[in-house]
């Protein structure tokens, strides 16, 4: 009965948290960011020619916040013009597509310039300026494929087509009669890889994106639709605009700046962007050139991934031990203490249920964007990532340690109690050393999971290994090669960890060839067959 009650309350708490979150996201609050002379622009920096990441500041690139890399492209050039007119310094905040709206409403960025179209859904939460690029949709297909010579939407009957998640491009696919609308994908590198691998026949996109895909990858082709045979778009919804917070003070000023950039100038900027986008130096060994060009980026990604996994697992482990100790305290005799312990137990149970029961990607978004929006707290994104990984892992390891404690023989508890040890003495000296040994294989598992699963933290723009890989693949268009290298690096890391922990387990078990008669009270090892000691009688 009381057990059921506890479950009920835990579920209730989770629901409460969910509603709270929904409420926070629905009410855009006023600027949390301080006006420090910076114009912070959010973009993926992986959607050439609109925006991409590069290693140096060539061709007027802008530095990416909290990174040694630079962003460039059509969006960046537009952002620079706006910032100049506002008298501010442009700063690029590299953010996942899904992370852009919350980053804006929570004040992490001032504007979204990322090839975004002002759909009615988006207009509910954020505001848009006038158009800064006129949309023209296309479909990108395989050059040697069945749809390469299509000129009309009708030709795509029965084709497997996809588009980017939550974009007007994806919605427009429904205009093709008899199309097989594949589930939406997260980013363009993934879609290009999907075409090459043959899982899809094509993806819907903007013309500039298509032409840069075509230019960078000889296997891809952009369809040129005959007049009136292509997608029908509603300019209000599908032309690209700049997203700003509702009531943003500089909106009118930005519109003024945009009005001052002529169509000719826009085309000029776009042509430059297409020409400047990073291309693959396809000379010599692909592995060597990949490492030469992106070795640093990969190394930084590896560093961040290891930092997150090590700190997360270590702190999570400490949390697990703490929770394990608290939750096994025997019922105290006095009523007051018993009530206190029960409350504490309940809180810990809620903690475990909530953090095990929600995805880490959601927790990260709630902490990073939610805290900025609701509490006006600005947390560093690496700090936020470390906190989330730690408490998330803590929830899992708490249960692992609990299992480890339960599996310790009841006689060990009784013997410790009979010696007069307090609960904490017993845990420290007798139970936890055994429980930890019992839990070690499962903790190793958590560590390995952390190495891999921290990739979801790209939602708050933490550039760990996978995020770096995405960026690289978006630039060099060598999806298979890049992801092969990335998976190799992951495998090396996880394999090293599992071997290292195997050694630790062995060490904890002690030597197998023991000598029980070896008396440590002896100052010296007796010499066998050696010269007699001088002081021997």
């Amino acid at each position: 009965m009381s057990h059921l009650f506890r479950k009920f309350w835990a579920v209730f708490a989770v629901l409460g948290l969910g509603f709270g979150l929904a409420g926070m996201l629905a009410t855009p609050t006023q600027a949390a960011s301080k006006d420090n002379g910076e114009f912070k622009v959010g973009m993926e920096a992986g959607y050439a020619p609109f925006n991409w990441t590069q290693n140096d500041s060539s061709n007027g690139a802008v530095k990416i916040q909290g990174s040694s890399e630079y962003a460039n492209g059509y969006d960046v050039q537009i952002a620079k013009r706006i910032a100049k007119a506002l008298g501010k310094t442009p700063v690029v905040v590299k953010t996942d597509w899904d992370g852009l709206p919350p980053a804006l409403t929570s004040g992490k960025i001032d504007a979204i310039i990322a090839g975004m179209s002002p759909t009615p859904e988006r207009r509910k939460t954020i505001d848009f300026t006038n158009t800064y690029y006129v949309s023209n949709m296309t479909i990108v297909v395989r050059k040697d494929g069945k749809y390469a010579n299509a000129t009309s939407l009708k030709d795509f009957k029965g084709a497997k087509i996809t588009g980017q998640l939550s974009t007007s491009d994806y919605d427009a696919i429904s205009q093709i009669k008899g199309v097989i609308k594949e589930p939406a994908m997260n980013n363009f590198p993934a879609m290009r890889a999907a075409i090459e691998s043959g899982t899809i026949d094509g993806y819907a996109s903007e013309v500039p994106e298509g032409s840069s895909a075509e230019a960078a990858n000889p296997n891809l082709k952009m369809i040129h639709f005959a007049k009136g045979q292509g997608f029908k778009t509603n300019p209000d919804e599908s032309d690209l605009a700049i997203g700003v917070r509702k009531g943003y003070e500089y909106k009118a000023k930005i519109n003024e700046v945009l009005a001052g950039i002529s169509q000719k100038e826009r085309t000029q900027i776009m042509n430059e962007a297409v020409a400047n986008q990073p291309s693959t130096g396809n000379t010599g060994n692909w592995f060597v050139s990949l490492m030469q060009q992106y070795g640093g980026m990969l190394l930084r990604g590896v560093g961040m991934t290891i930092l997150l996994a090590v700190v997360g697992t270590l702190v999570g482990f400490l949390i697990g031990l703490f929770v394990g100790i608290i939750r096994t305290i025997p019922r105290p005799r006095s009523t007051g203490k018993r009530g206190l312990l029960r409350l504490f137990d309940w809180l810990l149970a809620v903690y475990i249920e909530v953090f095990r029961g929600t995805p880490m990607i959601v927790q990260a978004a709630v902490l990073y964007y939610g805290s900025a929006q609701a509490l006006h707290l600005s947390i560093d994104r690496t700090a936020a990532a470390l906190i989330i990984v730690s408490i998330n892992t803590g929830a899992y390891i708490s249960e692992i340690i609990r299992g480890g404690i339960t599996s310790v023989d009841a006689g060990q508890f009784e013997a410790a109690n009979a010696l007069g040890m307090t609960h904490f003495q017993m845990m420290r000296k007798v139970i936890l050393p055994q429980a930890v040994r019992n839990s070690l294989p499962a903790v190793t598992n958590e560590f390995i999971v952390n190495i891999k699963d921290t990739s979801v933290l790209s939602v708050i723009s933490v550039s760990e290994l996978f995020f770096s890989g995405e960026t690289i693949a978006g630039q060099n268009f060598q999806f298979f090669h890049t992801y092969l290298v990335i998976s190799g690096i992951y495998l090396i890391m996880t394999f090293t960890i599992s071997r290292a922990f195997r050694l630790i387990e062995k060490h904890m078990d002690g030597p197998k060839n023991y000598n029980v008669m070896n008396n440590q009270m002896q100052v010296e090892t007796p010499r066998i067959g050696g010269a007699p000691r001088k002081d021997a009688e």
Binding site: G420, K429, Y514
Partner: protein
């Protein structure tokens, strides 16, 4: 002659759910006394011992230690347990610690002795039970008899006022029983107060000052070994002893 009362069990009841295991137990233990409890399996011997050490919480009655109720809210249970040691049927040596650490850990954590002092004391006791050469061994590397001897040294190391033995030889192979009984006999002669639950009738007869016969949750009869083994008054005692002794 042994007047000072250490432990008094008064009208003790213990039930597990509807099942009443101990029905109104009364027992006085004087300082320096060696008391053996015999009886059939399931008669409540071990439960009585575990209640005395508060490994089980009594459901009725009281237990006094130096005339103080151990069941009152303000009684310091951990301090009491340090003074009342226990030796278990299944040894329960700490699996993560070696022999020496097993005998030292209670001294250093509970009694706060400094490690050198604790080590000297532990070595002295291990020497006495013949386990000094095995100080570095882990419990799993020892035989049952060896483990039990270490467990006795561990309990002794706390310098307890009372030692409780819960069928200390029941889990041992026959050839190891003697080594443990010998150790216990030596201990009995040091004047330590001991309560022993055992099936070793000969041993109980040789070392005890008092022998209690337990049957079906009550203390059926108690007296000197001579009274119990030679002239049992109760029919239940007679029958139990007849069955038990005829086996040998």
């Amino acid at each position: 002659m042994k007047d000072e009362m250490i432990l008094q069990v008064q009208n003790l009841h213990k039930s597990f759910g509807d099942h009443e295991v101990l029905k109104d137990i009364n027992l006085d233990v004087h300082k320096g006394e060696v008391l053996s409890i015999i009886g059939a399996s399931g008669s409540g011997k071990s439960t009585l011992l575990r209640n005395i050490n508060l490994l089980e919480q009594p459901t009725g009655g009281d237990i006094l230690f130096h005339n103080q109720s151990i069941l009152s809210d303000d009684f310091d249970v951990t301090l009491y347990r340090a003074k009342v040691g226990m030796v278990f049927q299944s040894f329960n040596l700490f699996a993560n610690l070696d022999v020496l650490q097993n005998v030292m850990v209670g001294q250093t954590t509970v009694l706060k002795r400094n490690p050198d002092e604790a080590k000297d004391h532990a070595m002295e006791l291990l020497e006495r039970v013949g386990m000094a050469p095995y100080v570095n061994a882990k419990p799993s590397q020892l035989s049952g008899g060896q483990q039990q001897r270490v467990a006795i040294a561990r309990a002794e190391a706390m310098d307890p006022e009372v030692l409780l033995f819960d069928e200390p030889t029941s889990a041992l192979d026959p050839e190891m029983v003697d080594e443990v009984l010998n150790t216990m006999s030596k201990l009995a002669h040091t004047g330590l107060t001991m309560i022993i639950v055992t099936h070793e009738m000969q041993f109980a007869r040789d070392v005890s000052d008092i022998v209690c016969f337990m049957n079906d949750g009550i203390l059926a009869e108690s007296g000197t070994p001579e009274q119990i083994f030679e002239h049992p008054q109760e029919a239940r005692t007679q029958e139990f002893l007849k069955r038990y002794l005829s086996r040998v």
